[in-house]
């Protein structure tokens, strides 16, 4: 177990309206087995004891699946490893390091406080059409819809998205196309998604544009930082879904 001293540069902002700034904190005696978020817990305990405002950050399951944690660490969403911030451990850093911690930056993800951003845009995009319209109780027997394993696996790969928003944070255009692409692809590949396929693609893309996300320039940064390794193929599929819907749909 190694102990390390760190300098932290953290974005502090009292609320959505306030002007924020980077503040410097020094922290000592950090153990390399700690998770990154536990390191912030230690900082916060120190701050409260000193009578200072603790740093607000989103986090919950701390096992890499809820998608709540959302820090840009040294300029990279979720830090140096391709995982969620909660799964990043301090052994990825060295004694004496200076670590920059910033919130996701996007017009569609406004900062609410310190490192917390509002990601409700993602929910609204899904409300626009990210579902199969099937009322409870009206489903046929599950095995009446056979789905080839390969398609099921591909759809699953898209479905693994945890909605953390790292793709938006990583993209130089703050584009949400990997997220929307993953959602659209899952339904586009599965037979259950066929009926509403065109309407869904048009509605979700329209909502995405309305939220103020940028457009994809295929740098691949989103996929390279995605903790679930969602592939760029999802964006291609979204483009195809949208263009097909726009130019062949009758509505």
């Amino acid at each position: 177990m190694k102990s390390m001293n760190l300098t932290l540069k953290i974005w502090r902002q009292a609320n959505a309206q306030a002007k924020g700034e980077m503040k410097t904190y020094s922290l000592s005696g950090i153990n390399d087995h700690m998770s990154f978020l536990e390191m912030l817990d230690v900082l916060n305990e120190d701050l409260v004891k000193k009578g200072e405002e603790p740093v607000a950050f989103d986090h919950d399951c701390r096992e890499g699946i809820c998608g709540a944690c959302s820090l840009v660490i040294n300029g990279r969403p979720h830090g140096p490893l391709q995982t969620t911030t909660c799964q990043l451990h301090m052994r990825s850093f060295k004694d004496g390091d200076t670590i920059y911690i910033e919130p996701w930056r996007a017009k569609a993800f406004p900062v609410m406080k310190d490192l917390i951003v509002d990601r409700s845009a993602f929910d609204r995009i899904q409300q626009a059409g990210g579902y199969v319209s099937v009322n409870t109780g009206s489903a046929p027997d599950a095995n009446e819809i056979p789905i080839g394993k390969q398609i099921a696996d591909e759809a699953f790969n898209s479905a693994t998205c945890i909605g953390c928003g790292a793709c938006v944070a990583a993209c130089k255009n703050a584009s949400a196309m990997l997220f929307v692409g993953a959602k659209l692809s899952q339904y586009a590949m599965l037979p259950q998604g066929q009926v509403e396929r065109k309407r869904r693609a048009e509605a979700m893309v329209a909502q995405m544009d309305k939220e103020g996300f940028g457009a994809c320039t295929n740098t691949g940064a989103c996929s390279a930082e995605c903790p679930k390794e969602i592939s760029m193929a999802n964006i291609a599929m979204m483009n195809r879904e949208f263009l097909t819907a726009k130019f062949t749909g009758e509505a």
């Binding site: 609320n15 009578g51 603790p54 890499g64 709540a68 489903a139 819809i145 699953f156 259950q192």
Partner: protein, 637 residues
């Protein structure tokens, strides 16, 4: 107070069908006149909100998360049981019922569990229709596996993230209703109190976690789908924000709390590495299929595992349970790990861990085979601990995972406060003293999709559609009380942080009301918790104000309720003078050290009634009748 479980008469198989027919209905044109509050948007909450909105009710859904998709149902790994018998291996509704009752060590209601098994098949249909990508065979049909020691393959799964996929399904169904205007979603909004008007639940008090605004919402019924209370132990596999506040506040308003001491400990978690630890991570139970559990024979052996020769190792599960070996049930494996650590034979820096060794499996099957089987888990372990489990044995230790106890509900899922319902892990109903693997997801969705949509109509039809305004004194009083609680906490300016006190509470619960409990220890815990409560009420330190985003305030409000719940758990554990399922009282064991149930005296649900601040709670008993299964003692020798 008399507890009426409202279990329908008639043969077990026909109870639910008969009951559904006898329930009153709300005319389709009238449904839009009713408002229903759903607190929590995990599997139970999201499925209930969607289903009720589809029926035509107006739903208000509340979550303290930024998005419903983050509820902790999302973290469930293993799968979801359903009695589909797709594998032709002898499964049936009755077998799933039987396994669940037996697995729960005969402390659950037969009628509820049978209904759960019945609707389990509909859940899978519903989820597949929503586009949930369950694992499939090459032929395109659904794949199943055997899970948690079940003798049939009835578990449907979606890689290691069944919870996320099911939750996204329910969330998408709810999204559709939000778009349709039938569900109004309140995110970052936490319930602080239940409002009871003229003896009926009529609304809730909430805090807007962004602005701090204390608001009231009225409705015709309130559904609490707020999950379990494992975080009373501070360290658990629950998410950081999981809490008991909604359930506990309902309890204080008159809802009885069922079996609070029934908690489930999962044997294969990554051990605690230091005081800063915030959370425990579960490793799938499947690891015990190939890993061998051992500790050194000598106490305080600080050699590294590779240096301990075979004859100085104690494969204690294989030694004590030759026929089941490393595959004994969760509680048995957990308890035995505790015993060897208590003897000073634990491993690792904290000495609170046992080895789970894959060396033999790797030798037998080769590393690539083991990698194919457990690669993800091994990577996760290495990520967290920095150790390579292909080279050195994993270290594991049990951790709190699930709480079987919860708000007492009748067959309709209604608590003892009329109009207040509890669904999913928040209620006590289906798992008895111990939950089977892959049954939590099943229960959450059963309650939300297939039970509440029927049972709530019966209540609503009876009360009429007249609305109650939030200007009623019951609302304004409850609001003021919530504001006062917050003001008191913020003004204290003590010296201890919320986390420090939570850690103290957690450690106490773990030591005395955890895997193994004794009358002596529980009595001690009672006093310690009293002190913690006192310390919390006089010496806690918070920062900031109410009128802003304030995460320490959120934690403090939750801790206040955990402390009270903790003392009730201790009382419940003290009163239950038997060992069953997750509740192991050291005084009550067989000569072999196995749990000793006392069906004559304790075949009941303990339902506790709140009697006021710092007053002892009153125990009510709902006796359990077993007409369809024979009570047997478990044995894994």
């Amino acid at each position: 107070m008399t507890l009426d479980s409202k279990i329908p008469a008639g043969p077990l198989e026909e109870k639910w069908a008969n009951h559904k027919f006898s329930l009153k209905l709300v005319n389709p044109a009238n449904k839009r006149k009713y408002d229903i509050i759903v607190v929590g948007t995990g599997l139970a909450g999201a499925s209930a909100a969607a289903s009720l909105a589809e029926l035509g009710y107006n739903v208000k859904a509340f979550t303290f998360h930024d998005s419903p998709r983050r509820a902790h149902s999302i973290a469930a790994q293993g799968g979801i049981n359903a009695a589909k018998n797709y594998q032709n291996d002898g499964d049936s509704v009755f077998r799933l019922f039987y396994d669940t009752i037996k697995g729960g060590d005969y402390r659950a209601r037969e009628a509820n569990v049978y209904r759960l098994a019945q609707v389990s098949v509909d859940i899978i249909d519903q989820c597949v229709a929503q586009g949930v990508p369950f694992a499939r065979e090459y032929g395109g049909l659904l794949s199943n596996r055997s899970f948690g020691g079940a003798q049939v393959s009835r578990t449907f799964y979606a890689r290691g993230q069944t919870g996320q996929q099911l939750l996204l399904g329910a969330y998408s169904a709810m999204n559709r209703q939000i778009a349709a205007g039938k569900v109004k979603l309140y995110t970052r909004t936490e319930m602080l109190d239940l409002v009871v008007v003229d003896g009926k639940a009529r609304g809730i008090i909430t805090r807007n976690l962004v602005t701090g605004a204390i608001e009231s919402h009225s409705a015709h019924a309130v559904l609490l789908c707020t999950g379990g209370y494992g975080n009373v132990f501070y360290l658990s596999t629950n998410a950081m924000a999981c809490n008991t506040t909604a359930a506990w506040r309902a309890h204080r308003r008159g809802a009885l709390f069922g079996n609070p001491c029934f908690t489930q400990i999962h044997p294969t978690c990554i051990p605690v590495s230091g005081d800063y630890q915030s959370k425990l991570t579960l490793m799938s139970e499947s690891l015990r299929n190939d890993g061998r559990v051992w500790v050194p024979k000598k106490a305080n052996d600080s050699r590294s595992p590779e240096d301990i020769p075979e004859d100085e190792r104690d494969y204690f599960l294989e030694r004590k349970y030759p026929s089941f070996g490393n595959l004994v049930p969760r509680d048995v494996a957990s308890r035995n790990a505790k015993y060897v650590c208590d003897e000073g034979r634990g491993v690792g820096a904290t000495k609170l861990a046992v080895y789970l060794d894959f060396a033999d499996a790797i030798k037998r099957d080769s590393e690539p085979v083991i990698r194919a089987r457990y690669g993800n888990l091994f990577d996760m372990y290495q990520q967290i601990t920095g150790e390579n489990p292909y080279k050195t044995p994993m270290r594991i230790y049990p951790a709190v995972h699930y709480t079987m106890g919860g708000l007492w509900v009748d067959y309709n899922l209604m608590t003892t406060v009329p109009g207040c319902y509890a669904l999913g892990e928040a209620n006590f109903s289906d798992h008895g003293a111990n939950r089977l693997g892959a049954s939590a997801l099943m229960q959450g969705l059963a309650d939300g999709y297939f039970v509440i949509p029927y049972t709530i109509g019966d209540y609503l039809a009876g009360i009429g559609s007249e609305k109650v305004g939030t200007d009623r004194p019951e609302f304004t009083t409850a609001m003021q009380e919530a504001k006062d609680r917050i003001a008191r906490l913020l003004s204290m300016k003590g010296t201890k942080t919320v986390d420090e006190l939570h850690r103290e509470l957690g450690l106490t619960m773990w030591d005395y009301c955890g895997m193994s409990r004794s009358g002596e220890g529980l009595t001690k815990a009672r006093d310690i918790i009293k002190n913690i409560k006192n310390e919390f009420e006089t010496n806690v330190r918070l920062m900031g104000t109410n009128e802003e985003m304030n995460q320490t305030l959120e934690k403090a409000l939750r801790l206040a309720d955990f402390i009270e719940l903790g003392s009730l758990m201790v009382e419940d554990a003290l009163r239950r003078n038997e060992s069953c399922g997750g509740h192991f009282r050291e005084e009550y064991q067989t000569p072999d050290g196995e749990a000793l149930r006392d069906d004559n005296q304790f075949a009941y649900v303990a339902a506790w009634e709140y009697k006021g601040d710092n007053q002892p709670e009153e125990l009510h008993k709902e006796s359990l009748a077993f007409e369809n299964v024979k009570l047997t003692q478990r044995s894994y020798k």
